[in-house]
Symmetry: C2
Subunit: 460 residues, 2 copies
């Protein structure tokens, strides 16, 4: 009977454990959970803090009982400290100050990521928070219970923009500071500008192209100061400038690190250490289009990597198919999504990209409620291959699943022109005879033709 | 300079004409439009009649001016009567009783379909209507202006269910009669039952498994009688039992007919007659999965076929990629969608299908507004290949674009298991880390494993 030990009770770890039990129903599977909250949705924290999800317990993808019912042993508040790969043992800090040593046949490391805390003066002051764990979330919730007037959020990525929405929902005045010129820097600035406008429309003060330089305590509150004379008072400062892989444990085993310091893994999710797998935000991600490792810490990817790691650790043979960096975020009434490569990413990867923009109704304008989608398509001029897409539109306009049509096309290696050949569904309340994703693809092909590189008529 | 003549001013014809002008900006392109309404959206008629689209002019995909601006000559109220393929001439009934003869170098026939009028006693009575053209629509609109109390709709397909919604919207009591045991027979009865429940919930009387036998005039109204003692009084009877290809014109040229009597075409949309193309509802449709001709009269397909025909007629070389029968309909607050093959269709085509059902939230339940999706996945037991999918859910639950993810997967020839490998977007308001389309695919694979045909672990 194989003893599988999993470190990490979030998406990757729990997915690995459950999949291992599914593949080998007799396997002995133990998960070490560093806190008391196995399988809670980190992506759900903004909605708990906004009040839209009143009970934090609802954030659990699966309850403890549900996981245990599948024959997985959960050890809560157990922190893995060191791996001895030769003896196949892990040294664990257990509750009550105890240290225990657990043996394994196969080990899956799913230690996740840690939020980046920039070395700013004042970063450790009370009232300055990151948001990555349930405990972080409880700390912010406790502060919100004291009815703060205003908050400064540093970083306008996914978490930053979602939290600007969430705190506004709670009646807090929000200032959102972003170092780069546009908010949501994971999409093109043209789309980021619309997200900024949506934030502003809902009362968020947006300070782009602003670098925070220090945080100071002042009269029981906080003062945030930055470049260009930026200054804002706040009762709460949220730091959301990204994450880095938590590789401390994997390094004790001597595991090699790769892209952006994440644990190097092959496509079976094996690390360089025999018997040790890694999955989720601590590990590299195979990029399906680049066909090389990248670092793309996303919940969707963590689940898939964890599933592959668990399957392989239990004796299966599953290859992680790879990520395309597909993402979507809801900010107030807007959705912004992307998949694949943006223009500069494609160029850096050796493609000869062309990116075109299209503005098009989400459904036939004669049916009530049509809204405008902004779509950006990136393709390779030489081959005509689809490389990526971005969509911005109303939260009600099927933005998330429209980006997924591109994601499926990317996974299949389709050309931009092939997208126009897809047989997509149509009824006037939901689309047009050529869906917006196809209208944007047609614009790309037409634009390429005009630039004289590929003919407008691409033989199918 | 090529003279291209297009017969038919609906989706296929206009798409052909515009594409021909795009490919050959010097080409001479004329479209014969049998009525005065070029490029009006037939799919939009229910929304005009419901009152949601108050002005019928808004139903035009493109205005006459817009089409003409692209250099396309439109001849309205010109009906093509006969093709002389040897002389490359078409005899045309023009306004004022004139007959004119037009020459062509290339001809595209886009004559569409005609609604089936079953040979029922009373089918020609005043107050009994079909709904396929603008003139049909105006006739029904005139009748609705007289504030009818009740209507009987014969046929619970797409048009029938949409019109049940539309007439209810107008305050008319609707009885919907369907010969088959379930409404919306294009999806599995399990889903049809939910559509029936939605109709009933909104006050529509649903009579399934009922064959209409006669329509009689009675005291200034109509009486519809059918099997099982069915009887209903009505001020309006709408017959929506399907369409058949309008091949009268193509036959005058000696064009061969194919599946279900539609004009036989190759994948370049060429008929058997030299210089004559056909596209849209009058023609066969290449089925992308079956890899043989089918008859699938849909607006989306008509546009794509028309585009290919126009491109080829203008000297290009485009292959029509084919249809998967992807469709979606909105009925009150529900959306029902399908793509590819259903179980019995797959079996008839020589596959060894397995179809599984999954009920799953459209997004994380902890975020407000989650609703249940019912998804049915059909795959081939032998190869694991995805063959088709059906989704039923709330109109707000991205049903249309979720079916399109399956449609893209089908076009790429993916296996059901490959669907779980797709990198789809996730944020709690819109999805789950495994999107519902993937949860349903996982259920299929698991079910197959349990049945012992393929292993639960399908190597990627």
């Amino acid at each position: 009977m194989t003893r599988l030990l999993v470190v990490g009770g979030s998406d990757a770890g729990i997915a690995a454990a459950l999949r291992a039990r599914e593949v080998d129903p007799d396997g002995d599977v133990t998960v070490l959970v560093a806190d008391a909250y196995p399988n809670h949705s980190i992506c759900g924290l903004p909605f708990f803090l906004s009040g839209e999800t009143p009970d934090w317990r609802d954030l659990a993808h699966r309850t403890r009982a549900d996981i245990e019912e599948h024959g997985v042993r959960l050890l809560l508040d157990h922190r893995a400290e060191r791996i001895d790969p030769d003896r196949r043992q892990v040294e664990v800090s257990a509750p009550g100050g105890r240290t225990v040593t657990l043996g394994y046949d196969q080990l899956v490391v799913g230690t996740g990521a840690v939020p980046v805390r920039p070395p700013l003066p004042g970063i450790d002051l009370p009232g300055v928070h990151v948001l990555h764990t349930m405990d972080d979330s409880f700390a912010v919730a406790a502060l919100l219970a004291r009815r703060p007037r205003s908050a400064v959020i540093i970083g306008a990525g996914y978490i930053g923009t979602e939290m600007a929405d969430a705190l506004t929902h709670r009646g807090v005045d929000v200032t959102l500071v972003e170092q780069l010129p546009a908010v949501l820097p994971t999409v093109d600035p043209e789309l980021g500008a619309e997200v900024a406008a949506e934030l502003t429309r809902h009362g968020v003060e947006v300070a782009a192209a602003t670098t925070v330089e220090r945080i100071e305590a002042e009269a029981g509150r906080l003062r945030v100061e930055g470049s260009g004379g930026f200054t804002a008072a706040a009762d709460l400062v949220l730091v959301a400038v990204g994450v880095r892989p938590d590789t401390a444990l994997a390094r004790t085993a001597g595991a090699e690190l790769g892209v952006r310091g994440a644990v190097r893994v092959d496509r079976a999710m094996r690390t360089s250490v025999d018997g040790v797998y890694a999955a989720g935000d601590c590990a590299e991600t195979w990029h399906r289009l680049l066909e090389q490792p990248a670092y793309l810490p996303l919940g969707t990817t963590a689940h898939k990597q964890g599933r592959a790691a668990g399957e392989n650790a239990a004796g299966g043979a599953r290859t992680f198919a790879g990520s395309l960096g597909t993402q979507v975020v809801k900010v107030f009434d807007l959705a912004a999504a992307r998949t694949g490569l943006r223009d500069h990413e494609a160029r850096a990867a050796g493609f000869d990209p062309l990116t075109t923009g299209t503005t098009v109704d989400d459904h036939k304008a004669y049916y009530p409620g049509a809204t405008r989608l902004r779509i950006r398509v990136t393709g390779d001029r030489r081959s005509g291959r689809l490389l990526g897409a971005q969509i911005l539109g109303a939260a009600s306009a099927q933005v998330a699943k429209r980006i997924d049509v591109y994601a499926a096309a990317l996974a299949a290696g389709l050309s931009v022109d092939d997208v126009t050949d897809l047989d997509l569904s149509y009824t006037p309340p939901f689309s047009a005879p050529w869906d917006p994703v196809q209208a944007a693809a047609t614009d790309w092909t037409r634009s390429l033709g005009e630039r004289g590189v590929l003919p407008a008529t691409v033989p199918a």
